[in-house]
Amino acid sequence: MTRADDRPASLSLQSVSKHFGPVRAVDGIDLAIGQDEFFSLLGPSGSGKTTMLRIIAGLERPTTGRVLVRGQDVTTMPPYRRRIGMVFQNFLLFPHKTVAENIVFPLRMQNVARAERDERLLWAMKLLRLDGLAERYPNELSGGQQQRVSLARGLISRPALLLLDEPLANLDRELRAEMEVEIRRYQKELNIPFVYVTHNQEEALTMSDRIAVMRNGVFEQIGPRNDVYRKPATAFVAAFVGQSNQLTARAEMVGPDSLTLTWRGHRLHLPHPGGIKAGDDVRFFIKYEDIEVTPERTAPGNHVGGHLRDIIFKGQTANYIVSLADGSEIIASASSRDQKVTIGEAVSVTWPASAGMCFKT
């Protein structure tokens, strides 16, 4: 294997575990991240995603396993030799240094000559649209500006890898949406692998090429963002990613890809990932946007009747809440523009037999 300096960067983790006493924060993770990949670790707080990031950065030593950056084993290497960039949720800019001093800090630590430092500073300031802020101190900047300075500091030395720990969590919604697009653009332009930690599924879905959904120190699912969204591997992923109706029933007839069950008197067909026998209790998840609410039954597939209790206006979309005869509810989401149904009327709820996912409880 040749290892030229311009060889694309990659990261691999080999059965990495981190135990804090009896707690297994990270439990035997294997992972390989490609050269130009935007990779997200998605999970609720306490799932071990931040611990994993800290292991990659060198801030924590794994209990077992190996960490390799560009093929080099860095497991025991201190953080300052790894040449990894990192961006934090609370920015962590040096308050006693100006914007310019903060950004060139990694280059100074690598003893890069002044001329090159200045050149790279200009490049980074331009890339992150920080012109005119060079002499400001961090406390004179807005949150968004601080986060861009933090990104510039992480990127200026063209690291082997950039780690981002919930970098947008402290920004307001509008700015967050804007930064999501920008951060993905930097990753694609610079061709540096990004490992992005977040508990926000929207962020992960917007930016990532691949997503790993993490819980209790292990990956529940790892795959392209479409797969994680469309084909959840576990009930946890189905519940965590996207917005779904969660229902329970007993499987009746199980085929290779599809099964049949009766839910509150309605015969339904659902896909399943395998491992379910007839007679098993199952949970199934139908995403809001897969469901159509119409005055009359129009499409084939699964059908349930009810009446429209309310419409929750969300802007671009609206949530349609349908009450069924026995009092249970199903929620659908659709464009808010052409509402064909009115509140209080009888409606038909349909979704294709290929939509949703069914798991053994």
Binding site: Y80, F94, P95, Y137
Partner: protein, 286 residues
């Protein structure tokens, strides 16, 4: 009836107290320093003789220089000793942090004379160290008996808690995550300390230095008990002017000189502090 503004009511007593107990005596000392003493009496005939004596007589210059060097050495030793201790407590003290800092102040529960007497009991001719050496047939360490070294050790012992407390209070407000950030960005442990920890804790350190340097410069009791004849300090001599010799005017002039040097040190310290670069947020911004 005119109403007194509430701010004046609040600040008034404090201002009055400072005026009576601090400013007035200072002004009096300043005034006396231009007077003359004769047979234990002060005479208000204005002259500069006291200052002339101070700056021309070799003995006073020696005392002043000795005190300045002593205070400087003590401050630096305290600095070297206090940083690791304060750092350790702030970083690893956990829930015992406060207790550990209070323990450092434990010697203050007794009086200063008692503490110095205790040191004498360790360093002196019949003290712990030299007695122990005697048991093994070794000669006593002369350098510890009534020498400037013994006085300096005494000063370090007396003043180091101030330094530790000042640095500790600074470090507990320091965000150690910044240290991790520096390391991720390529700074080794020492580089990270110099780039981040030291500058962001400089104000606390400077306060510690001032808290040690200034009382040490004026110190009289410690060199008298521990230092011996070759350690006569400016403060000791100053004390004598108000006591044995009764030359109040000269003593006052010495007090003014001491005060001036302390101000100078504070000014130098203040000069090194750039509020914008101190990491204090919300101060000096814009």
């Amino acid at each position: 009836m005119t109403r007194i503004p509430p701010l004046l009511l609040l600040a008034g007593p404090g201002v009055l107290f400072i005026l009576v107990t601090l400013l007035l005596p200072l002004l009096a000392i300043f005034m006396f320093s231009f007077w003359r003493t004769e047979s234990y009496e002060l005479y208000p005939d204005w002259n500069l003789d006291n200052y002339r004596v101070l700056f021309t007589e070799a003995a006073y210059r020696t005392f002043l220089l000795r005190s300045l060097i002593g205070a400087l050495v003590t401050s630096l030793l305290c600095l070297l000793y206090a940083w690791p201790v304060a750092y350790f407590i702030a970083r690893h003290g956990g829930r015992y942090r406060l207790l550990l800092v209070l323990l450092l102040a434990a010697p203050f529960f007794t009086g200063v004379i008692l503490r110095i007497a205790a040191l004498q009991g360790i360093f002196g001719p019949g003290g712990l160290i030299n007695m122990a050496l005697g048991i093994f047939g070794l000669p006593p360490i002369a350098a510890l008996m009534y020498t400037p070294l013994a006085a300096t050790i005494g000063h370090v012992y007396l003043f180091v808690p101030f330094m530790v407390t000042a640095i500790y209070l600074s470090l507990v407000n320091f965000n150690f995550d910044l240290l991790e950030t520096a390391k991720i960005n390529g700074a080794g442990p020492w580089r990270a300390f110099i780039e981040v920890t030291w500058p962001l804790n400089w104000i606390g350190t400077a306060i510690g230095l001032a808290l040690v340097f200034i009382p040490c410069l004026a110190s009289a009791v410690t060199p008298r008990f521990l230092g011996g004849p070759s350690a006569t300090s400016f403060g000791m001599s100053l004390g004598q002017q108000f006591g044995e010799t009764g030359t109040w005017a000269l003593g006052s002039a010495m007090g003014v000189v001491l005060f001036a040097f302390s101000l100078l040190v504070l000014a130098v310290m203040g000069f090194t502090v750039n509020l914008k670069r101190s990491g204090f947020t919300g101060m000096g911004a814009r």
